[in-house]
């Protein structure tokens, strides 16, 4: 397996990262080399041709046939969401013009795929959004981003200006920048922000696609999802399904953390790769930095799907393809496509505690079990880390986790519960040693995962 070598500018820091841009024939990230930055409209149109906006019903059928699922974490079938919005819009009165929201928040700190996609291929994202708008019957699209992803926001704004100047038959575009909070990327939080409220999740009576912003059908899709739509309408579902597997079709953007000071690498996975392959560092000569940066460590466990994903023992997932069906068979999910290994020599309890503490502080503080429960979980793990806990406390911690599940207005607490529950199993030995107040023998530090300080504002 060969991987294309092309350095990418980290949209956050402007440093060059040893991103591997997927296998040859990458799709979303095909085209000009990443170091050249955003693909201008002219090049985009020359490379992919015009966007065929035919009969929306036909396009919807094609999307259905593609089997595309959302890439924002939930993995919901795209055609079903769009069909629900379309049906709700046509059932309502003329004032029920639907909303289409492109979710560019990428609130998951460990993921770089969305900001990189927006930075490098903004027109692919906007093309997909134009298609979604045509299907839903919306005449306006809001691209919702988070503060701090400046390069992505700038690329999107420039792309919008280019499209306006070119007079494309587009919906009206609006690029909105909301707070850089984890839960603000949740779909109902985005809807709340777009209504002028705080970017906090809401308790929904109806699905957003039926009654979202101001009661109107509201489609919220991740930027990667939109980019796939742009390719499906151009080249067809059959072509699109040649990537991936039958049960998990299409290519997928994956952010791999492999230690070393350079942080994350972004890959576009066209043929399915196993978690082990994803974690194998490229040969020194294939690295953009010529192999100068420390390449990797031997993983003992892997966090799959993001900070609120699930832990798995490295030897148990090494051979598992990173596809939704193969991961589901071992109780995992691709989530937003993050693969974050923990070195064998690092302490799993400390890793869980650090993650839980950050995630607990990111609660929107609206729902009791989320606000108080996650804080208790973080504290329990902290006590365990400091070896002032006990096996009884660990048993109680498990009970607390069961009490929290399903008790939030959004799925934030469920994600944290899944991360900790899986961690308690995967790191059972570390947990037991800590609970007996014995040293766990860890010699390595935790990886330098990003933990951005929470923003105060919710607007």
């Amino acid at each position: 397996m060969t991987l294309a070598r092309s350095p990418v500018l980290d949209p956050l820091t402007d440093r060059t990262l040893p991103y591997r841009m997927g296998q040859p024939g990458g799709r979303l990230l095909a085209g000009r080399p990443p170091r050249l930055g955003a693909e201008p409209l002219r090049d985009h149109a020359a490379r992919l041709g015009p966007l065929p906006l035919g009969d929306p019903r036909r396009v919807l059928e094609e999307l259905e046939r593609s089997g595309l699922t959302g890439r924002g974490g939930g993995g919901f079938p795209v055609a079903r969401k769009l069909a629900a919005a379309r049906a709700a819009a046509s059932a309502g009165c003329a004032h029920h013009v639907p909303h289409v929201v492109v979710n560019a928040s990428e609130s998951e700190p460990a993921s770089v795929k969305d900001r990189t996609l927006c930075t490098l291929r903004p027109h692919l994202v906007l093309d997909g959004a134009a298609v979604a708008a045509a299907i839903a019957g919306a005449n306006r699209v809001v691209v919702y981003a988070h503060r701090g992803t400046d390069r992505a926001i700038e690329a999107l704004r420039l792309a919008v200006a280019e499209r306006r100047a070119a007079g494309l038959p587009d919906p009206a575009w609006l690029v909105g920048v909301g707070p850089a909070r984890y839960v603000s990327g949740e779909a109902s939080a985005a809807a709340s922000w777009l209504e002028g409220g705080e970017a906090k999740p809401r308790a929904l009576r109806l699905p957003l696609a039926v009654g979202g912003i101001a009661g109107r059908p509201t489609v919220v899709h991740n930027v990667e999802t939109m980019a796939h739509v742009a390719l499906i309408v151009r080249f067809g579902a059959d072509w699109w399904r040649q990537a991936g597997t039958m049960a998990s079709p299409g290519s997928r953007l994956v952010t791999v953390h492999r230690g070393g000071p350079r942080g994350a690498e972004l890959l576009e996975m066209v043929a399915p790769l196993t978690v082990g392959t994803l974690l194998t560092p490229p040969a020194p000569e294939d690295r953009d930095d010529g192999g100068r940066s420390p390449s990797s460590y031997e993983p003992g466990a892997v966090l799959i799907g993001g900070y609120a994903g699930r832990w798995a023992a490295a030897d148990a997932v090494e051979g598992v393809p990173f596809t939704s069906d193969a991961l589901a068979a071992v109780g995992l999910a691709p989530g937003c496509g993050v693969v974050a290994p923990l070195p064998k020599e690092a302490c799993g309890v400390a890793a869980m505690a650090t993650l839980a503490q950050w995630l607990a502080a990111e609660s929107a503080g609206q729902c009791g079990p989320c606000l108080f429960g996650l804080a208790d979980v973080a504290e329990g793990l902290q006590r365990l880390t400091e070896r002032v806990s006990s096996r009884r406390e660990v048993r109680n911690l498990r009970l607390l986790l069961g009490d929290i599940r399903g008790k939030g207005a959004c799925h934030h607490p469920d994600g944290v519960v899944g991360m900790v529950e899986s961690g308690l199993d995967v790191f059972a030995d570390d947990v037991d040693r800590h609970a007996r107040r014995r040293p766990c023998g860890a010699t390595a530090d935790l990886p330098a995962w990003p933990f951005p300080a929470p923003e105060e504002a919710w607007r």
């Binding site: 939930g74 919901f76 079903r80 969401k81 629900a84 906090k200 999740p201 809401r202 308790a203 929904l204 109806l206 699905p207 957003l208 696609a209 039926v210 609206q366 729902c367 009791g368 079990p369 989320c370 108080f372 429960g373 208790d376 009970l399 607390l400 009490d403 008790k407 939030g408 207005a409 959004c410 799925h411």
Partner: protein, 76 residues
């Protein structure tokens, strides 16, 4: 006919008043927030549940009468 008790957790402040009225249907969790014991409310429990709903100071409770084709929360 079966109904479901819905709790808007962004509203609920954990006063626990609901439990005083509908203790058979609602319990309090480790943090003093309500937990629905029975997924569907049997007809004989409905009057108590209705009293709990009207007594909740935050109007966090509601009855979800079927059919609700839309699914409960989150997606799509």
């Amino acid at each position: 006919m079966t109904a479901r008790l819905r709790i808007d957790r962004t509203r609920c402040a954990g006063h626990g008043i609901c439990v005083l009225f509908a203790g058979r249907t609602i319990d309090l969790d480790a943090w003093g927030f309500p937990e629905v014991l029975e997924e569907t409310i049997e007809p004989h429990a409905l009057p108590a549940v209705r009293r709990a709903i009207t007594s909740c100071p935050r109007q966090a409770l509601s009855l979800e009468e079927p059919p609700s084709p839309a699914g409960r929360r989150g997606t799509p």
